[in-house]
């Protein structure tokens, strides 16, 4: 029952949150409920009896069942989802959102959707949760976002919605290809399809995942959305939600279309590698810290996308590991960005500088996060990127070499960011910078500890990734 609880706890608490009148209690409620989810998640982890699944009839006439199951990748991602939310809530505890009950309610609903996506082993159920995660996120961005939020989040919504609708067509198609008309993951392997059909349906699925990840050139929704969303939501979007696409590829696309995946591998990897370089170069020229992190995220996801299609088992382990690592790292980055934005009201590099004199601890924590972002050894990303790069290298040396340039570029823009924000002389406008909230610092410390811990001893999670 644990996987069900993972979905149920945030779902129920999220719905209840809407009925809380008091702002403060809504916050506390969100913290408590998300911590509860962590407990459930950890219990699931300790449960250790794989596959940890639950199955019940849901839509018999459609051949769909409510079947959820946790394997390695599912466990890793549910863990990430569970751990992220209390960190997000705690680190943004001092932020005040109007109608905070609805805010936290939507957040928890998003979490429920994400959990469902990572657990579902029924394709229709997967699609269902896929959308369930999207809709509250849309509302979160649109209601609590920045100036241009309406247009931007709408673009985000439509973009991902188009993708998921195409996937829906693909889902229907494969459903009718199964002999017993089933959505079960097990039934969807080895479908009797011609190569042409397989290629076509492959793309229907892949576009949905590619938009979500996002892979070049489907990425343009992302920087705008990250920029305009409230940072807590951006954390969810970039920390967890983009992993839905990667996860979709691992859980569904590769098992369903093994042959097409091999056929399309080169094409997708080329796109991914182009995207890495492209996003990195754009990141270098950004003046907005949020947009910079957004493009950096595109570059990192590009590597995951490339590694996914190498067909290399250890590369896959790397991808799974990196999903967790990237989630942790980018949430850390956003937390700092949020602090800066909340305190100074700007995200422009041209208006920032010398903050390390105002907030040395923050500077150090941010620096660690940044170095995790550029995959310095002994941070968690190194392990993931090492394995992924290795798999790309085994697939195609030239691609790995070109992709490797992004490592260098990552250093360029990440250090640029540190330098512009924290180094140099203090700017005039920054006298208003006051103490960083304790909760925020504490959460950053937790994240840093996670970064180092998984960087030094990744084997625990690497073992987890292997579980079938």
């Amino acid at each position: 029952m644990h996987p069900v609880l993972l979905i149920l706890v945030p779902l129920v608490t999220g719905l209840l949150s809407f009925f809380i009148k008091n702002e403060k209690s809504a916050k506390i409620w969100a913290l408590v409920s998300s911590t509860l989810t962590v407990i459930v998640s950890v219990m699931t982890l300790l449960h250790g009896n794989y596959p940890n699944s639950y199955d019940a009839p849901w839509l018999p006439m459609l051949g769909s069942r409510f079947s959820v199951s946790l394997d390695g990748v599912g466990t890793v991602l549910t863990l990430l989802t569970a751990v992220s939310f209390p960190i997000i809530f705690a680190s943004t505890y001092t932020n005040n959102y109007k109608k905070s009950n609805a805010f936290y309610g939507f957040m928890s609903l998003t979490q429920a959707g994400l959990m469902g996506v990572f657990c579902a082993t029924d394709l229709l159920l997967f699609y269902f949760f896929w959308e369930l995660a999207l809709i509250p996120a849309y509302f979160l961005c649109s209601i609590w976002g920045g100036e241009k939020r309406i247009a931007v989040t709408f673009k985000f919504f439509v973009y991902t919605f188009v993708g998921s609708l195409l996937m829906l067509v693909g889902i229907l198609f494969v459903y009718y290809k199964t002999p017993e008309h089933s959505f079960a993951l097990s039934a969807l392997r080895n479908l009797p399809m011609t190569a042409g059909e397989e290629n076509f349906i492959f793309w229907l699925f892949f576009i949905a995942f590619a938009i979500k990840m996002p892979v070049f050139p489907f990425h343009t929704w992302q920087p705008d959305t990250y920029e305009q969303s409230p940072t807590a939501v951006t954390m969810v979007l970039s920390g967890i939600m983009v992993k839905m696409g990667v996860f979709g590829v691992i859980r569904w696309l590769l098992p369903m279309f093994p042959a097409a995946s091999v056929r399309m591998a080169d094409m997708i990897m080329i796109l991914a590698v182009i995207g890495m370089i492209y996003a990195s170069l754009i990141a270098i020229k950004q003046d907005d810290i949020k947009r910079l992190v957004a493009y950096s995220s595109i570059a990192h996801i590009g590597l995951m996308a490339a590694a996914l299609f190498t067909g290399n088992a250890s590369g896959m382990q790397g991808v799974i590991f990196q999903m967790f690592a990237h989630g942790i790292n980018i949430i850390g980055l956003w937390i700092v960005v949020d602090v800066i934005e909340q305190q100074l009201g700007t995200r422009k590099f041209s208006e920032l500088g010398g903050l390390s004199q105002k907030a040395p601890t923050l500077a150090i924590l941010f620096t660690v996060m940044c170095f995790a972002n550029i995959a310095l050894p002994l941070t968690n990303s190194f392990v993931g990127e090492f394995l992924m790069f290795n798999s790309v290298f085994q697939h195609n040396i030239a691609m790995a070499a070109v992709a490797g340039v992004s490592i260098i570029l990552a250093a360029v823009y990440t250090l640029w960011m540190i330098q512009k924000v924290f180094y140099g002389e203090v700017r005039e406008g920054e006298v208003v910078f006051t103490k960083v909230p304790v909760g925020t610092t504490a959460m950053l410390v937790v994240l840093v500890i996670l970064v180092i811990a998984f960087g030094v001893y990744p084997q625990g999670m690497l073992n987890l990734t292997l579980i079938k």
Partner: protein, 456 residues
């Protein structure tokens, strides 16, 4: 048969109630009770209980599916009357007659879900249409109403001519008006032409492109409360007729009309969705969106399998409930343009919340009935294994539809403004709306709730 006869009788009762009962408010209640009776007896009939034993061979054949369809439509009408009954009273001077006409439309519905004869199809469509012409023009002083009514009538009678020509041609080759399964897969030219003309006339009735031109103008010009009725129950009844015709006669040669259907579906989706994008008036936007929705319902004719039949049922329920709900609120809005909804979430949070569910359902977002409705439609086509491209076009247009539905949601939630109601809403009204929304969500999580009725 219960529905046809009882609705005719109830229509007459309503007619005379204007003489017998004083006070406008009573009609609504009489109508509601009447609808409840209708619903009960219709369900009873689907369990084998018939009030009257007529020999309807050759004309009507009552089956589970048609009766369930009736039930869905009757239920929606009941909701409609409960939600918008008081609005009907406000239109024109003859509310009782309006209710009577609504019952007559239901009589037409009863015929269209059970006909087996072209004559009954013709009569059914006329019984359905003529009251609608009248309802459209029932606000006599309103020039827009006049215009809508005139347009509707002229084009409607023109399409009747087409329909009749088609029927005549079919009769010319078959020598009968009965719609029967034919072993002969090949149609003669004359018969094919007849079928095409009948198809065109029915396309007109369900406002499929390129015969949809009346729809936006008529829906826009008619009193909103009747637009609600026309766009939902009347249109869905048209689809019931359409599906029945296809199921019995065209079904055996599905592949032969696929191309025709594909073109019509494509045009319908394109016209409906694209034109809706630009609309500033919510009412007119909904009119276009109803064309777009019709495009999706046409998928059922394309698929013509169990998924299609179940799906059309679900579509009818989800679409009608959502549209009725939206119109119930819309009629009470001071400003019916999109901007008129600005800030509704602040002034009327409950109404706004419910409207969101309705719009999400229309857009086909999961967790709402609209999703499964569309899902079934798409599935029915995918199941045939042909025209996957059409399905993809369909979903792309579904994405376009998000654009205009979300415009309203954005206005309500994300924009500043002070949307106001011209008519205050009672708490009963609100609870009812919430119940409808809950129903839509129920359909979205567990569509079996409705569809399993089909099987026992």
């Amino acid at each position: 048969m219960n529905t046809i006869i009882l609705s005719a009788i109830l229509g007459v009762v309503m007619m005379f109630s204007s003489v017998l009962v004083k006070g406008k408010a009573a009609f609504k209640h009489i109508a509601a009770v009447g609808l409840l009776i209708l619903l009960v007896f219709n369900i009873a009939e689907s369990h084998g209980f018939r009030l009257f034993e007529f020999n309807t061979t050759n004309f009507l054949h009552f089956e589970k599916y048609g009766l369930l369809f009736n039930s869905v439509c009757l239920f929606c009408t009941l909701i409609y009357v409960l939600l918008s009954g008081s609005d009907i009273e406000r239109v024109g001077n003859n509310p009782a007659e309006s209710f009577a006409l609504i019952f007559f439309v239901l009589c037409g519905l009863g015929i269209l879900t059970s006909y087996t004869n072209m004559l009954m199809l013709f009569i059914g469509i006329e019984i359905l249409s003529i009251p609608l012409y009248i309802l459209t023009g029932s606000d006599k002083k309103n020039l827009k109403g006049n215009e809508a009514s005139l347009k509707y009538f002229l084009m409607g009678s023109f399409s009747t001519g087409i329909l009749l020509m088609g029927i005549a041609m079919l009769y010319g080759t078959g020598g009968t008006f009965m719609i029967e399964k034919s072993a002969n897969q090949m149609l003669s030219y004359l018969e094919a032409l007849g079928m095409l003309l009948v198809f065109i006339a029915l396309s007109f009735k369900v406002s499929a492109a390129p015969f949809h031109f009346w729809t936006p103008d008529v829906y826009d010009g008619a009193p909103p409360v009747f637009t609600s009725f026309m766009a939902t129950i009347a249109k869905v009844a048209g689809f019931a007729a359409f599906l029945r015709l296809f199921e019995i006669r065209y079904g055996s040669m599905g592949s032969q009309v696929e191309r025709l259907l594909a073109v019509v579906i494509f045009l319908t989706l394109a016209f409906g969705n694209l034109t809706a994008v630009f609309q500033q008036s919510v009412k007119r936007m909904l009119a276009y969106s109803s064309i777009a929705q019709a495009g999706f319902m046409l998928f059922a004719l394309f698929g013509l399998n169990d998924m299609a039949k179940e799906g059309l049922l679900l579509y009818a329920a989800a679409y009608s409930l959502a549209t009725i709900g939206i119109f119930a609120v819309l009629t009470r809005m001071e400003d019916m343009s999109v901007d008129g909804f600005n800030g509704l979430a602040k002034t009327q949070p409950l109404l706004a919340g419910v409207l969101v569910i309705f719009f999400l359902s229309l857009a086909g977002i999961p967790l709402t009935g609209g999703f499964f409705a569309k899902y079934f439609m798409l599935a029915s086509v995918v199941k045939t294994g042909h025209y996957l491209g059409l399905v993809i076009v369909g979903v792309l247009f579904a994405a376009v539809s998000v654009y205009y539905y979300f415009k309203v949601i954005q206005a309500m939630y994300f924009k500043e403004g002070s949307a106001a109601l011209s008519i205050p809403v009672s708490s009963t009204f609100k609870y009812l709306l919430v119940a409808v929304a809950a129903l839509i969500v129920l359909l979205g999580v567990w569509p079996g709730a409705l569809l399993s009725m089909f099987y026992f």
